[in-house]
């Protein structure tokens, strides 16, 4: 999993912020502090961590590299899937493994919140794709 320094660099570049701009947003005297966070993995105090989490809309665990789940809304979505597949042991095992992937990427075109049955169907399709692609190797 990524370090704090790697996460911070990724997030500030993703947002298109310069180190000087980020330092200003954090009321730091110099951008060299940001550089230290990123290069020697210096961990800031709790106040700075909280501000960074607000600026980048992510959890502190994500910032510190303790979790791959970026924010609360993703966490809620993952819990919703877990609940939807919990009565199907095979699908649940597949989902638990899938949600641990560091590069999990799934986006939905939906018009309303999905029912547990609808979510279960989506996970079944994803499993089907993974099973088929795994079978290609043999």
């Amino acid at each position: 999993m990524a370090t704090f320094g790697e996460r911070l660099r990724y997030l500030h570049e993703e947002k298109g912020l310069k180190q000087t701009e980020l330092a200003k947003m954090l009321n730091l005297e110099s951008s060299s502090t940001i550089s230290q966070y990123e290069t020697i993995n210096r961990i800031p105090d709790a106040y700075i961590l909280q501000r960074l989490a607000e600026i980048f809309d992510c959890s502190i665990d994500y910032l510190l590299g303790r979790s791959n789940i970026r924010n609360g809304s993703i966490s809620a979505a993952l819990n919703k899937v877990h609940a939807a597949v919990s009565d199907d042991p095979e699908l649940l095992a597949f989902w638990q493994e899938l949600s641990e992937r560091e590069d999990l990427q799934t986006l939905f075109r939906q018009t309303k919140d999905l029912s547990p049955e609808a979510i279960k169907r989506v996970i079944r399709y994803i499993k089907m794709v993974e099973d088929e692609e795994a079978a290609e190797e043999f």
């Binding site: 789940i69 809620a76 899937v81 992937r101 986006l107 939906q110 018009t111 169907r121």
Partner: protein, 98 residues
């Protein structure tokens, strides 16, 4: 991104399209597999123009969002900016090809 870029992406073979039965309220979704392929699932209930619009919506996600964000599971994000931008893109391109 324009129509040429979309064509190139599909021709490269890293995007697979599946038209399937989905539950009401879900028009489609895109999934990035372990093998590094993008799988776009589209509801068979949609009309042809509806399917084309969902395809463009998901392609926008692949190019603009999934290349940028390492970990995302976008369930129930229909009101978020990412979704609005993908809808805007799909409608703009769709008007061009209609």
């Amino acid at each position: 991104m324009n129509l040429k870029d979309i064509n190139r992406l599909i021709k490269a073979g890293d995007v697979r399209i599946h038209v399937i039965k989905l539950s009401p309220g879900l028009y489609g979704f895109v999934y990035f597999s372990r093998k590094g392929r993008y799988h776009i699932f589209i509801s068979e209930e949609l009309s042809l123009p509806g399917r084309q619009e969902v395809l463009l919506h998901e392609i926008h996600h692949i190019v603009e969002d999934m290349s940028r964000i390492a970990y995302i599971f976008g369930l129930d994000m229909q009101w978020e900016q990412t979704e609005k931008e993908a809808n805007f893109f799909a409608r703009r391109i769709f008007r061009k090809i209609k």
